[in-house]
Symmetry: C2
Subunit: 366 residues, 2 copies
């Protein structure tokens, strides 16, 4: 049911850290041929491997358009449920609910208004009506009540929370004119605090270089190692346009404290060496007007920080890139108690506009 007269904060709910235990994790089956090359077949192979890897650690729920249902149940994957969730695209981190919990073991969902990453101003596909319903659909499948922010547009990939009162965002996303142009920065902060049950919002200036799809989502930039400690997408070559963005983020994070008054420890995680869309990759997409194009030679916004999290493991994207091994090593140091699972073929996800974190959405276990 939709709760219309209150907010999570008012009701004693807050969004836990993604590293806390999950009840299950959602993913949407990729399909749209104007975004995923070769009728999405290469991406589907990578998604399938990811699903099976995650299912070793926790229940996985795969949402799909109806016409792919039979295909998916035919795979008969253990610890995986297949459910119908009609969708425009597969970014459930962004279109799905942000689940909040309270001290009594209850879960609710925050169902943000979703407008395709900027609506008619700078959205990347049209229409986005089905994706705007995904928050409600996940809450209904899970049997949890939901808050809906009709007057506040947000994607789940635009926030990073520590579960102890701190939310990290980027100015590039949150102040984008395609999201909430009528709200001031203070009003946006207020919304985030009310709906995430948080106390303090930290504003990194920029997202990842080249991340035009999302206008610089924070989940390509930082993720918590634990409250008070983050991994940051890093570039140490001053000639790379990512360099200045990483520098500014580091300087900002070193200049602030979190909701608990802690200084923030930063672990640098080098971005992949520059990768560019090939001619073959570009031509594999059935390009249409109104959908963000995948143009030959465009730089891919790759980031190892966009890893996935499941109970007991980290899912590290692998791009056949010289920094792949370093990413595995850095993440193992950050999360010594978790298995670091390499996810091969993550370039296929990246070609669609994001990575493992973008295509997954956890439901916490309170």
């Amino acid at each position: 049911m939709r709760i219309t007269d209150s907010t999570p904060k008012a009701d004693g709910f807050y969004m836990p850290c993604e590293l806390d235990e999950h009840r299950c994790i959602y993913i949407l089956w990729p399909q749209r041929e104007d975004n995923w090359r070769q009728n999405a077949e290469p991406a589907q192979a990578v998604f399938k491997n990811l699903i099976q890897t995650m299912a070793k650690y926790e229940p996985v729920v795969v949402g799909t358009n109806a016409d792919q249902y039979r295909n998916l149940i035919g795979m008969n994957m253990p610890n995986v449920s297949i459910v119908e969730i009609s969708n425009n695209d597969s970014w459930i981190r962004d279109s799905g609910p942000s689940c909040v919990i309270n001290g009594e073991g209850r879960i609710r969902g925050v169902d943000w208004a979703f407008n395709g990453y900027g609506g008619l101003v700078d959205g990347i596909y049209f229409p986005w009506d089905l994706d705007d319903l995904i928050g409600a659909k996940v809450c209904n499948i899970e049997g949890i009540d939901r808050y809906r922010t009709d007057d506040f547009v947000l994607e789940g990939g635009a926030i990073c929370v520590d579960g102890e009162g701190t939310v990290i965002v980027t100015e590039e996303t949150l102040l984008d004119p395609g999201r909430n142009p009528d709200l001031t920065k203070d009003q946006i902060e207020e919304k985030l605090k009310e709906y995430l049950g948080a106390e303090k919002v930290l504003w990194i200036p920029d997202g990842l270089y080249g991340d035009e799809d999302t206008n610089g989502h924070v989940d390509n930039v930082v993720q918590f190692v634990k409250p008070g400690k983050v991994v940051l997408s890093w570039e140490d070559n001053p000639d790379d346009p990512q360099y200045e963005r990483s520098q500014k983020a580091l300087e900002y994070l070193q200049s602030v404290t979190d909701a608990k008054g802690r200084q923030i420890e930063v672990v640098k995680l080098h971005v992949p060496a520059p990768m560019f869309i090939t001619k073959e990759e570009s031509q594999g997409v059935d390009a249409v007007d109104g959908t963000f194009p995948r143009i030959e030679g465009a730089r891919l916004a790759g980031s190892y920080v966009n890893f996935g999290i499941v109970n007991g493991a980290i899912l590290c994207p692998q791009f056949d890139n010289k920094y792949d091994a370093e990413a595995m090593r850095v993440l193992q140091e950050c999360y010594p108690d978790r298995v670091i699972e390499p996810i091969a073929g993550a370039r296929e996800i990246l070609l669609g506009g994001g990575n493992i974190h973008c295509i997954t959405q956890q439901v916490p276990k309170p």
Copy 2:
């Protein structure tokens, strides 16, 4: 996940009596305009009232085609979840899974092959591909494993179980050439026992007079009051074609014992006085070739035995018929510990081809 190498009986599972406690109950939103008059609007009003009535007693899950999703969540009904289940029609008793349990508190689903009540022989609509997936979809939403009978066609409304080893069916349905023409009666019994975890099958000869949609489903004829005791659709006018059918059923039930060796006590529940499709009702349907027609003057196969069951209540169809009050009284005597909820407007469900039992499907709470 689909279990391919075993059966419920072999794994220690059985179907509990429908009167045992439910985890939740499923219903599908009516929509197809070639079966439900006036674009299904009158039926939807009755379904909505039924959903809200059931939700007073247990969680209700409403499955719907994607295009009605926004309509349904807008109703914001307490204790009701809305999920996408693409479907051909609304008879989830028949297209949904029969859930089985074991002694350790586990639930699984039996996902029967479904062919639209007789496939190309005497099925009532075409195609039925979406309905054949509903068993899998409910199991996946519930997160339970399922058995699938690719080689055995059955609808859930064609069986009535007591949870103590007895299954009641009708010969009219189970031996219909549109179901399993290559199986003998003994082989059909074997399938029922294996997949319902049962010991004995009782074969009432005929279904309800006029029930051509389902070829005489047993759920229009009998329902358990408790193991060893049933209510039977009754007609005491010898000039009515239902008379002989009821007589034969009574004689049969008095001639057999159940799986536990008990004689079966029978409570007679009078069928509604004859009701016929009006011109207006018939014309309200957008008739198409291949879908069972709703012809002016055709007798409706009304039965009070097709009531619904939820935790703590019985949902009694009301047809604006002279036997409505008697049905309420008889059911209250049968189920003294349950509230008997009258469901007004049940004629709208009947015009589509069934009643409350046909449009609901419980998931047990083991």
